[in-house]
Subunit: 338 residues, 2 copies
């Protein structure tokens, strides 16, 4: 198709292959700098002899209120987590709101209250903000951007480019809880579901992990595009192969059932309070123990390892003993999931 | 009206009195910290022995392409300017996009290219970003958040709270160009208008000003709500009276004519490349000369002074010699102006 006719599709926002292409083909060349080109969850820059991390995310989740949270704590936790995935201690957030005319004030109050609690829980401060109101129909209810700044402790050097053959891959808990919660809320299934979003700040967990283990190479929170896409990004960034084991990946029974019913693969569904960690061989036991000592890492487990073969590719040993390639998410499963 | 029934109106996003109330009544109490409560264009925080400024703004301008610029350079310049108004040297930006499904790729390319040029012109780098795509009708075309980080030079201490009686008030050039450009573009007037938006980075101008004059107390770019609202904010923040002189405020003839035709007061209309500066008595001549030496400050002039009487109030000596109170903008003149 000619450039002139091409249009942005929902796939471009999926967090999967087409998103990745949009970023590498359009964004990175447009802004041509090494910090952006690293494609980590945040950018790292020096100030004096300190290093800061800087990250941004806009939240467009629909519905804005859902079991386990709302767009407010999702936005605070999401940016806190992006900073934590750079190994940074999150410090300050901004909040930029686009609100549709007619939006109920009490809903805004509720969102602000939740943001405030989430910021307190994560130990960060919202220090600057902006509010735009657009006429009815020009936006759907409310969109919320949070950007954040964190301080990277001395000696910490974490990047999606640092995975090495032999690394063990750890996952902090069960997958797909957030996406399936949003999905069931939208689908109005007609039966009771006890599931809730896993939205949570991961910065305390990361602090505990960094204290326990100096050999952490990569941290990544598998949000849009899920664990499958996050691992593919890392395989590409580090030019390594990745092997995971299906039977080791924790998925709640209820999530698995709903995924089968609705036709989704939990490996590609968004998480909002989980992380992947890559650690050198021999470090995984220490790290696992540290993760399990933290409330949000209780169910942590080793799900795979980095291999030398087939750089840029993710393989999964299936439950029945076969092996299949786990590609990046192609197409969009769930618009407005976060 | 009961809280339960109150709804967000366009007035809440006007930048005027209702916006101010939303911020002071809801945002500041929700996030309860001293940095946010200062209500400057950005927040200032320390890192080691340095001070950084942090600011955020979401751009929802309609139309997205207009004479003099587009949403891309508007977003880069806007956040660069908010940082410069803290006295900071802007360094890094984030870009968070919400794009409507079906948006033409070539328009996105054009916006990204403009952002890139604007960043180069201002000497800043876009180092992190995020893209969300929402289904058709859930957002109008594209919204663009930029957040930014700047470094405050040693000895610089600028805030809307630092205006003092005797200060002279300088304005860097003609007012209302941006808003009238957007307005005429929307109104499809049927005759040719040569006007264009004044969108421009102000950080070089601020650098020149800070070099020429150590006695700058306040800097503010009069965007949404215009010069009238910006001065009211400063009068409130510093608890001083402000007196301005109508005949000293530069307004292009074409702008004046269109304002009369369309029923707008240029004093309340948005600027995207102008600044107000407050400097101690005796400093204004130096400062004025410095401003006029810079391309974006060529038409700089002294428009008024800070007085002891009536703290929190802005007065204007009118062209015909009378005096009237210049209130904050009440209600919304122009939604989606920036």
């Amino acid at each position: 198709m000619k450039m002139a006719d091409r249009r942005i599709s929902l796939d471009h926002g999926s967090g999967g292959k087409i998103s990745h292409k949009l970023i590498t083909d359009m964004m990175v060349p447009a802004f041509h700098n090494e910090m952006l080109a690293r494609l980590d969850d945040g950018a790292v820059f020096p100030v004096g002899n300190r290093r800061l991390a800087f990250s941004t995310d806009t939240y467009v989740v629909d519905p804005i209120f859902f079991p386990g949270g709302n767009i407010g704590d999702l936005a605070v936790n999401g940016t806190v987590n992006d900073l934590a995935m750079c190994g940074a201690k999150p410090l300050y957030l901004s909040a930029g709101m686009v609100i549709e005319e007619g939006f109920p004030e009490r809903d805004l109050e509720r969102i602000l209250r939740t943001m405030s609690h989430a910021a307190d829980s994560a130990g960060v401060q919202v220090i600057t903000g902006d509010t735009k109101v657009v006429p009815r129909g020009a936006a759907d209810k409310i969109f919320l951007n949070t950007s954040g700044i964190g301080l990277i402790p001395e000696g910490v050097d974490i990047s999606g480019r640092h995975a090495r053959p032999g690394d063990k891959i750890l996952l902090s808990g069960s997958i797909a809880d957030h996406a399936v919660t949003i999905l069931t809320k939208r689908a109005e299934l007609g039966f009771e579901v006890s599931l809730k979003s896993d939205t949570a700040p991961l910065n305390r967990l990361v602090e505990v992990m960094l204290k326990a283990c100096r050999g952490i190479h990569v941290l990544r929170d598998p949000t849009r595009g899920g664990v499958g896409t996050a691992l593919n990004e890392i395989a590409l960034q580090s030019r390594v192969g990745i092997k995971i084991h299906e039977d080791r990946i924790p998925v709640k029974n209820e999530v698995l059932g709903l995924c089968e019913l609705l036709g989704f693969d939990p490996l590609y569904l968004a998480n909002e309070g989980k992380l992947l960690a890559f650690a050198g061989p021999g470090d995984e036991e220490n790290l696992l123990a540290a993760m399990r000592s933290d409330p949000v890492g209780r169910e942590a487990c080793v799900i795979g390892e980095v291999v030398e073969d087939h750089p840029g590719t993710v393989f999964m040993e299936t439950r029945i003993g076969g092996e299949r390639i786990v590609d990046m998410l192609t197409g969009e499963q769930l618009p407005r999931i976060c």
